[in-house]
C-alpha cells in the first residue's frame, strides 16, 4: 500500500473505481516483476501455486494447464520412441522386459557387444522352429532366457572389480568382451545345448522322424554269431524315456526366479549336445545346433584365430614337455620358467607378442590355470591336465588348419632357419623377434655367438657367456646392444654377475644419462665430484653406490616399479623399527642390525637410499675361510674385491665347482657357527623374536647377511619379506 500512497491518496482511490482498477493493475505488474526476478526459485513458485490452489477457480485452471503439458510430453516421448528404437522396443515387448534390459544393453554396447541381435536370434528361432509349442510353454522358455540374461549385469560388475584390482583403471575394459561373451554363453548353455535342441528333436520324433536303429538297440549285435558275451551298445539312447521327460518338463512349474528348476530330474535328463551320442542322434534327425554370440564378425574372427594358435601352442608345449622340461627351459630362457609352462595367460601373451593373436584379445583365467598354479613342480601334471581340453578342441577344429597352426607356432617358437646352403641354425624365440631387423653381417655375428651357445648347452658357465660377449664385441656391436641382446639369453642373475666382470663396471654418469634419459630427473643427487659406482643394472633397477655419502641407492628405471619399491621401503623400515625396538628391550643384541633406509621422493621420482655396509656378505667370509689354503687367496690380495669378484675368481681362476659354491650359500647356520660360535644362540633368538612380531624375512640366505669390518651382522633385501598379520 505504500507504493499506492506515493501516487494517489487512499481516499481518492477508494472513491474512484477506475483509479482503483488502475492502481491494482500497477501493483500487479510490480508483483509480477518480483516473481520474474532471478532470485525467485522454482520451489517458491510451487509454493505459490499451492497457496493459490485454495481457490477452486484457480485449481481448475491449474489442472487444465497440467493436462495440456502432460499430453504434450507424452506425444513427444511417443514420437521419439517410434523414431529411434522401434525394433528393440518390439523385441523387448516380445520378451516382456523393458527397464532392466535397456540398462544391460547399454552396458554391453559400451564393450561393443550386441544384445539385440542375440534376442532377435532367439525370437526368430522360437517363431520359426517352435511354432507347434503351447503358448504357455513358449512363455516359460522366454522367461528362462531373460532371467539368465539379467545376470549379465552382475558378471560385468565382477569383471569391472577385477579390472580395477589389476590395472587401476577401466580404460581398456572393452578388451573383456571375449570373456563376457564366453560367460554369457556359459550362462545360456542349458538353453542352447539342452532345451532348444531337445524341443526340436521332440517335435521331429513325435510326428514324423524315425530314430535310426543304432541308437535304439540296447546291445551291439553286429557280431552276435561269434560272440558269447554280447557287448552293450555305446550309442544306446532310451528315446522314449527322453520324450517322456521332455513332456514332463513342459508341464513343470518354473522356480521362484522364473527359471527351469535345476534340481528337477527332467531338467537334467533331456538331450544334451555336449554328449557325443546325443549329438550324433540330433544331427541325424536334422536338428540344428543353436550357436549364439554377442561378438561382431571381426571380434569373432579374432577369437577363432587366437584360440587356434593358443591351442597349437599348448600342443607344442606338451610335445616339448615330453622331451623334457629342461629343453623347454632353454628355449624360453628369457621368460620365467614356471610361467612358461604353467600360466595360460603367459602363453597367450607370447602368442600376442609373436603376432599370432590380436593384441587386444583376452581370455578367461580358467580353472586349469588355477590348478596349474599349484602343481608347477611336476611337469607331467601340466600335461595330464591340459590334454583333455586340447582333445575336445581338436574334435571340433579342422585337422589341416590345426596342423598348419602348429607348424607356424613351431616355426616362430623353435625355429630351424636356413642361413646359407649348408648351415642350419636353431634360433630361439627372443632372437627371432630381433632377427627381422638385423642385416646380414649382424646375423652372421649372432650365428657365430649362437654356435658357442650350442656348445655350452644348458649347463653353461660364465666364461662361455664372456666368450660370446667377446665375439659380439669384436664384430663391432656396441656394448649396450650386446647387453640388450644378452639380457634375453640369460637370466638376471647371470647379468648381474657378468656386469661385475667388465661390462657395467664403472660406467660414467654421463653415459648413463645418455642411455636412460629418465635418470636425469635424479641428476641433482649425483653431485659432479661424487664417485658414483654402478654396482649393477637391470631392466628394472639401478643400484648405485656413493662413496662420499656412504649410501647405496636403488633407483627404478620406469615408474611402473614404484609400487614394488615403495613396498620394499615400507617393509625395510618396519624391520628396522622393530629391530631397534627389540634392541631397546634387550631382546636383540647390539651386533644384529638392519641398515637404515629412507625413501626420497623428489617431485615424481622415488629412490631407496640405504646405508652402505662395509664390507662383505656372510658367504664371502665363508669362502675366504674355506679356501684359505689356495695359493694367492690371501686377505692382502682379495681384501679389496667385492662379493661377486671373489666368487668369479674362485670359479674361473681356481676352477672351483659352481655347485659347491652355491651349496655354501644355503648353509646359513653352519656359516654363522663358524664365525660366531658363541653368538649363534643370540642370533637365533633374534630371528625368533622377529617372527614372533610377525615379521618374516623369507629370503634369508647368506648372500643377504652382510658383515662389516667390526663383525656386526646386517640383514638386507626385504622385497620378498612378509608381515604375516
Amino acid at each position: 500500500m505504500e507504493h499506492l500512497k506515493a501516487h494517489e491518496s487512499a481516499d481518492f482511490i477508494q472513491q474512484n473505481p477506475e483509479a482503483k482498477k488502475e492502481a491494482i493493475s500497477k501493483e500487479t505488474d510490480r508483483l509480477f516483476g518480483v516473481l520474474e526476478s532471478p532470485d525467485m526459485e522454482v520451489d517458491d513458485l510451487n509454493s505459490l501455486l499451492d497457496r493459490l490452489s485454495s481457490n477452486p477457480l484457480f485449481r481448475d485452471e491449474l489442472e487444465a494447464f497440467q493436462d495440456y503439458n502432460s499430453t504434450a510430453l507424452e506425444n513427444v516421448l511417443i514420437a521419439n520412441m517410434e523414431a529411434e528404437e522401434c525394433v528393440e522396443w518390439d523385441l523387448l515387448d516380445y520378451f516382456w522386459v523393458r527397464a532392466e534390459f535397456t540398462e544391460i544393453s547399454r552396458e554391453l554396447e559400451a564393450v561393443w557387444l550386441d544384445l539385440w541381435e542375440l534376442l532377435s536370434d532367439y525370437r526368430g528361432f522360437i517363431e520359426t522352429k517352435l511354432t507347434w509349442l503351447d503358448e504357455v510353454f513358449v512363455e516359460k522358455v522366454k522367461s528362462s532366457i531373460t532371467t539368465r540374461l539379467k545376470e549379465v549385469s552382475s558378471i560385468i560388475e565382477d569383471l569391472k572389480n577385477i579390472e580395477i584390482q589389476r590395472f587401476w583403471s577401466l580404460e581398456n575394459f572393452n578388451e573383456n568382451r571375449w570373456i563376457i561373451n564366453e560367460k554369457v554363453w556359459e550362462h545360456l548353455s542349458f538353453i542352447n545345448n539342452e532345451l532348444l535342441p531337445s524341443l526340436q528333436a521332440y517335435s521331429k520324433i513325435k510326428w514324423w522322424a524315425n530314430v535310426p536303429e543304432k541308437f535304439t538297440s540296447r546291445f551291439d549285435t553286429t557280431n552276435w554269431m561269434t560272440n558269447w558275451n554280447i557287448p552293450q551298445n555305446p550309442n544306446y539312447i532310451n528315446v522314449e524315456y527322453k520324450i517322456w521327460e521332455i513332456e514332463e518338463l513342459m508341464t513343470a512349474h518354473l522356480d521362484s526366479e522364473w527359471n527351469f528348476d535345476e534340481w528337477l530330474f527332467s531338467t537334467q535328463s533331456i538331450f544334451n549336445t555336449e554328449k557325443e551320442s546325443h549329438r550324433e542322434l540330433l544331427s541325424e534327425l536334422g536338428v540344428q545346433e543353436f550357436e549364439i554370440s554377442l561378438l561382431n564378425e571381426k571380434d569373432k574372427q579374432i577369437q577363432d584365430e587366437a584360440t587356434l594358435y593358443f591351442m597349437a601352442m599348448i600342443w607344442v608345449q606338451i610335445w616339448v614337455e615330453t622331451l623334457g622340461w629342461v629343453v623347454w627351459n632353454i628355449v624360453w630362457g628369457w621368460i620365467d620358467v614356471y610361467d612358461s609352462f604353467s600360466s595360460e595367460e603367459e602363453l597367450l601373451n607370447i602368442a600376442k607378442n609373436l603376432g599370432l593373436a590380436d593384441k587386444e584379445f583376452r581370455m578367461d583365467k580358467t580353472w586349469v590355470d588355477n590348478v596349474l598354479a599349484g602343481v608347477w613342480l611336476i611337469p607331467w601334471a601340466t600335461q595330464a591336465i591340459k590334454w583333455p581340453r586340447l582333445a575336445s578342441f581338436m574334435e571340433k577344429v579342422d585337422a589341416k588348419t590345426f596342423e598348419n597352426a602348429v607348424s607356424k607356432v613351431k616355426e616362430q617358437v623353435w625355429l630351424w632357419k636356413t642361413f646359407s646352403e649348408d648351415e642350419q641354425v636353431r634360433l630361439s624365440l627372443a632372437e627371432n623377434l630381433l632377427w627381422r631387423e638385423l642385416d646380414r653381417s649382424e646375423k652372421s655375428v649372432i650365428i657365430e655367438a649362437h654356435n658357442l651357445w650350442e656348445k655350452v648347452e644348458w649347463e653353461y658357465s660364465y666364461s662361455d657367456i664372456k666368450e660370446k660377449y667377446m665375439v659380439l664385441k669384436e664384430s663391432g656391436f656396441d656394448e649396450w646392444e650386446i647387453r640388450t641382446l644378452m639380457e634375453k639369453w640369460i637370466t638376471w642373475k647371470e647379468t648381474k654377475e657378468l656386469g661385475n666382470i667388465d661390462i657395467i663396471w664403472g660406467i660414467e654418469a654421463e653415459k648413463l644419462y645418455d642411455r636412460h634419459p629418465s635418470l636425469e630427473n635424479y641428476q641433482d643427487i649425483f653431485l659432479p665430484n661424487d664417485k658414483v659406482r654402478v654396482l649393477w643394472e637391470w631392466t628394472k633397477w639401478f643400484v648405485l653406490s656413493n662413496e662420499r655419502l656412504n649410501f647405496v641407492w636403488k633407483i627404478p628405471i620406469s615408474s611402473e616399479v614404484f609400487p614394488i619399491l615403495l613396498g620394499e621401503i615400507e617393509k625395510h623400515q618396519k624391520f628396522y623399527d622393530m629391530v631397534m625396538l627389540l634392541k631397546g628391550m634387550w631382546k636383540i643384541p647390539e651386533w644384529v642390525k638392519v641398515p637404515s633406509v629412507k625413501d626420497e621422493i623428489k617431485s615424481d621420482n622415488l629412490l631407496l637410499a640405504m646405508e652402505k655396509v662395509n664390507w662383505n656378505s656372510l658367504t664371502t667370509y665363508r669362502y675366504k675361510e674355506f679356501y684359505k689354503d689356495l695359493p694367492w687367496f690371501k686377505e692382502e690380495i682379495i681384501g679389496w674385491l667385492t662379493d661377486y669378484e671373489i666368487k668369479l675368481l674362485l670359479e674361473h681362476k681356481y676352477n672351483v665347482n659352481k655347485w659347491e659354491l652355491d651349496s655354501m650359500v644355503m648353509e646359513v647356520g653352519a656359516s654363522l657357527q663358524k664365525f660366531f660360535p658363541d653368538k649363534l644362540e643370540w642370533y637365533n633368538t633374534a630371528i625368533k623374536f622377529l617372527k614372533e612380531r610377525w615379521l618374516e624375512h623369507k629370503d634369508l640366505h647368506s648372500w643377504n647377511i652382510m658383515i662389516d669390518t667390526e663383525w656386526n651382522l646386517y640383514l638386507i633385501d626385504f622385497d620378498t619379506s612378509n608381515f604375516s598379520k
Binding site: 513458485l45 521419439n80 520412441m81
Partner: protein, 105 residues
C-alpha cells in the same frame, strides 16, 4: 543432468499431472536417451512455464490479487529473516576469534 536430480525435480514439479509424473518416475529407466533428453529440456524451462501460466491468468477472476500480494510479502520477510540469522552467526564466529586472540595475549 544427473538421473537422480531429474527424478527429484520430477517428484516436485507442478507442471504435470500426478498420474503422468508417477508413470514417468517408475518407467524412467526404460526411456531411451532422446526421450530423456527431451524430458530434461522441458524440466529446464519449468520456471518459465509456470510464470507464463500465471501471467495468462493476470486479468482473470480465478487469481486473487490479495493472495499473491501477501505471499510475496511473506517471502520477502522470510528472506530477510534468514539473512539476519546468517549475519548473526558470522558475527558470533568473529567474536569467538577475537576472544581467542585476546587469550593469547
Amino acid at each position: 543432468m544427473n538421473h537422480k536430480i531429474v527424478l527429484e525435480i520430477l517428484k516436485n514439479t507442478k507442471i504435470f499431472k500426478e498420474e503422468t509424473k508417477n508413470r514417468l518416475i517408475s518407467h524412467f529407466d526404460s526411456l531411451n536417451q532422446t526421450q530423456k533428453d527431451s524430458l530434461i529440456q522441458i524440466l529446464k524451462v519449468e520456471k518459465k512455464l509456470i510464470l507464463n501460466f500465471l501471467k495468462s491468468l493476470k486479468d482473470k477472476e480465478s487469481m486473487n490479487f490479495v493472495d499473491i500480494k501477501s505471499w510475496v510479502e511473506n517471502l520477502r520477510l522470510n528472506k530477510i529473516y534468514k539473512l539476519e540469522i546468517e549475519e548473526n552467526k558470522n558475527l558470533m564466529l568473529e567474536l569467538e576469534k577475537l576472544i581467542k586472540s585476546l587469550d593469547y595475549i
